[in-house]
């Protein structure tokens, strides 16, 4: 038992240290400060994250604690999922997992350690938010009385359970075969959206986010209580909030939610592969014929035009490895698209390749070899062009129908969209080195488009029309320029 506790804590602390010593962690903490600033805006600001029937609380310790804790419960559950969703994958990648698997460490202890590490990372961001809240309380100056218990209670009872759920979900997604892929990243967008909306209801299971309990303590009804980044026409009226109502039912609900998160984190022990490579790849041995060294290759290496072959190879790298069901789905969408208007069809066919586009800019495998190869700029252009070709191929049918219907504005939007999507993927992939950011952001962007947010309709899918195609194409060029600039900068600082 004692050995298990030592192993659990040792693993959690080592994993946490590994993460916090990366520059990305500092960016995460700075982002947390930014979130705090959004949650406690200046008194004359035109945005709020909590609208209690046209009111907001005076900036007391309890109230700034509440709004920052709710902000972390709302936003860290989304962003935080992607930030911590690499704990097991890193052990696979680095080979540390195999070292651990060969030791006496039991799988539930391993999962508990990773869950704790996830929670420590998210908790440290919430901790920075709590400090930011205190600083902002003093800065805004509506109340100078510091009440540490009032400030921290919302973090303990509102934020912490939600962060535990996020930490557990990240681990569950990482250790479950189907969810481990980019599909899991996209699925979390929808899970989070459903949770963020449904979790605000007073009847949500285990109290949801916990805000259902708050309406009674504020001058708001369930209908007039709003949580989320909102624009207001004029600064809200103020009231003095009495603090978090800590009755037994509320505390029990929060504790139950946290325990449920722990159970979800440990559940994958039933199926986790424990770094057994044999379950993930086929036999490696190939019969080797005996041959004799016969000297250097006789054919001379002749330089020539290779642009076409480079582009074809980039397309191959992009699509090779897509499972059969991906191709079947793409074919099905193409056929189904014959019966529907081109705009909605385009919206559907341009979400299907998201996992393939998300590979753009993230291919680190061959970096060690390609770093010594000539023409890095040509490679980057070819990579983008491969993404554009994929967009063109999957969106070909709507384009043909637009052409047949002489829908030139639609075609212009189609062209801009085909340039924009891979440029976004390439820029985010180059910046972050991982596909997760694009998978999450593009899914949200796409979701907003299909929910009639015309201002974001980069592909011209909505009848009302989106931004001018020239602006979308300009954004695509700017995003490609960003990827290009970052690549150049890294090359210059190599």
């Amino acid at each position: 038992m004692k050995a298990g506790v030592t192993a659990w804590w040792g693993l959690a602390v080592a994993d946490f240290r590994e993460r916090v010593r990366r520059p990305a962690y500092l960016v995460m903490l700075i982002s947390a400060v930014g979130l705090g600033w959004l949650a406690v805006p200046p008194t004359d600001a035109r945005w709020v994250v909590l609208d209690a029937g046209g009111h907001r609380g005076l900036y007391t310790s309890a109230y700034v604690g509440l709004v920052t804790a709710l902000t972390s419960a709302l936003w860290l559950t989304f962003v935080g999922f992607y930030l911590v969703r690499d704990a097991v994958a890193r052990d696979v990648r680095t080979g540390v997992g195999q070292l651990l698997a060969a030791g006496p460490l039991r799988t539930p202890v391993y999962l508990a350690g990773k869950f704790t590490s996830n929670l420590l990372v998210l908790g440290s961001m919430a901790g920075v938010l709590a400090v930011t809240a205190l600083v902002l309380q003093l800065l805004r100056g509506e109340s100078r009385t510091v009440d540490p218990v009032g400030l921290l209670a919302p973090f303990v009872f509102l934020a912490l359970p939600m962060l535990a759920v996020t930490a557990a979900a990240a681990l569950l997604f990482e250790t479950t075969p189907v969810l481990r892929s980019g599909f899991g990243n996209m699925l979390w967008c929808f899970v989070w959206m459903a949770g963020a909306v449904g979790g605000q209801s007073a009847s949500a299971p285990l109290g949801g986010i916990g805000v259902g309990q708050l309406a009674g303590t504020m001058p708001a009804t369930a209908d007039t209580f709003g949580l989320g980044l909102m624009y207001v026409d004029r600064p809200l009226r103020t009231f003095e909030w009495s603090g978090l109502p800590l009755d037994a039912g509320f505390v029990a609900g929060r504790a139950a939610l946290t325990l449920l998160a722990v159970a979800v984190a440990l559940l994958p022990a039933l199926w986790f592969h424990r770094f057994d490579v044999a379950t993930r790849s086929t036999a490696r041995s190939l019969p080797e014929p005996h041959t004799v060294y016969q000297g250097l290759p006789p054919t001379a290496a002749v330089a020539g035009s290779a642009t076409g072959r480079l582009l074809a190879a980039e397309v191959l790298i992009l699509v090779r490895g897509a499972p059969w069901w991906w191709w079947a789905g793409a074919a099905l969408l193409a056929v189904a698209g014959l019966a529907a208007p081109p705009g909605p069809v385009l919206a559907v066919v341009w979400i299907w390749p998201v996992l393939l586009w998300s590979r753009l800019g993230t291919r680190q495998e061959t970096a060690a070899i390609l770093a010594a190869y000539p023409a890095p700029r040509r490679r980057l252009v070819a990579e983008w062009a491969a993404g554009v070709l994929l967009a063109a191929a999957t969106g070909a049918l709507p384009a043909v129908r637009m052409l047949a219907g002489a829908d030139l504005p639609g075609l212009a939007a189609w062209t801009a969209g085909a340039l924009f999507i891979p440029a976004l993927a390439l820029a985010l992939g180059t910046l972050t080195g991982a596909p997760r950011t694009f998978q999450a952001l593009y899914t949200v962007l796409w979701y907003m488009v299909i929910n009639d947010v015309a201002a974001l309709d980069f592909m011209g899918a909505l009848p009302s029309g989106g931004p001018p195609p020239a602006a979308v194409a300009g954004a695509a060029v700017a995003l490609f320029g960003l990827a290009f600039g970052v690549t150049r900068l890294r090359h210059a600082r190599r």
Partner: protein
């Protein structure tokens, strides 16, 4: 051909990996020997334009290869110590892709990819995804890619790691042929990798060159300083504290030891002719003692 002049590389935390090192490469094979952490890989990455030096110059064909790496990259074949591949591509597709990146004409690329797969004995596996290759097979893919553009400069870092003895011999033959009219810089800490093929040995420790010359010259430096003697197991630790031991073989009751010493270390010690490993270890030991 390729000149590394007064190269310094300082990493974050003031870790000085390469310290004012100068190396000029002409035709022939230079074996770069050194213990782990000596700065060999850093030096090779600088020579391959992958890493910028903190100080010094890299010159190729009269030009500055740090500011303008293009000309050197077009003439370079580089095999890094660790590298990855695209696991879903076949060996043939992967090399064809890299040939396109290198800007080889179609017909030339097709022929060379086939010939190089034959050269590294992978023709039989050319149409299988790289994800199913063993470590040794991937290393051979790495060797093949380094030779795609028939480079004039070849920089290889621990190239024989993961190769079986038969493939090591094949690779040595290949290097020997290549070095006839090209510059080959081979980094390793396995002395036998360079013993039979290197025309020049460079020993590096602490980011500095400690020896630069022909292999026989390196061996000559320790002539008369290599001894063999037999000791009881209980005395081995004391002997190892006193003298650098280059080899030992345990028998039932005794230990046969090969040591480096300026003078006869024990009455029953017999002088033996030094090999390259003795000579290399002597240089490394001397450096440790004096720094």
């Amino acid at each position: 051909m390729l000149e590394l002049i007064d190269i310094t590389k300082v990493y974050k935390g003031h870790k000085r990996a390469v310290d004012g090192l100068t190396l000029r490469l002409g035709p022939g094979l230079v074996g770069l020997l050194g213990p782990n952490g000596a700065g060999k890989s850093s030096l090779l990455r600088i020579a391959a334009t992958v890493t910028r030096p903190t100080g010094g110059q890299v010159r190729f064909a009269g030009g500055d290869a740090v500011a303008k790496p293009g000309p050197l990259r077009r003439a370079l074949g580089y095999l890094p110590q660790d590298f990855g591949v695209y696991p879903h591509l076949t060996g043939h597709e992967f090399l064809s892709y890299l040939a396109a990146v290198r800007g080889l004409a179609g017909r030339s690329a097709r022929a060379r990819v086939g010939e190089l797969l034959e050269l590294v004995n992978l023709t039989h596996a050319a149409k299988r995804p790289l994800g199913g290759y063993s470590g040794g097979m991937l290393r051979r893919v790495g060797i093949a890619q380094a030779l795609l553009a028939d480079p004039r400069i070849i920089v290889v870092d621990e190239p024989t790691a993961g190769l079986d003895p038969e493939e090591r011999v094949r690779f040595r033959n290949l290097l020997s042929d290549l070095s006839a009219d090209r510059s080959v810089l081979l980094s390793t800490h396995i002395v036998s990798d360079v013993e039979s093929v290197a025309t020049r040995i460079v020993v590096v420790t602490g980011g500095r060159i400690r020896f630069d010359g022909e292999p026989v010259e390196l061996q000559r430096g320790v002539a008369g300083h290599v001894w063999e003697l037999t000791v009881p197991p209980a005395e081995l630790t004391a002997l190892q504290r006193r003298l650098p031991v280059t080899r030992l073989v345990r028998t039932a009751e005794q230990v046969r030891v090969r040591v480096l010493a300026a003078h006869r270390p024990a009455p029953d010690a017999t002088p033996v002719p030094p090999d390259l490993e003795d000579a290399y270890l002597a240089v490394v030991h001397r450096t440790r003692v004096t720094t």
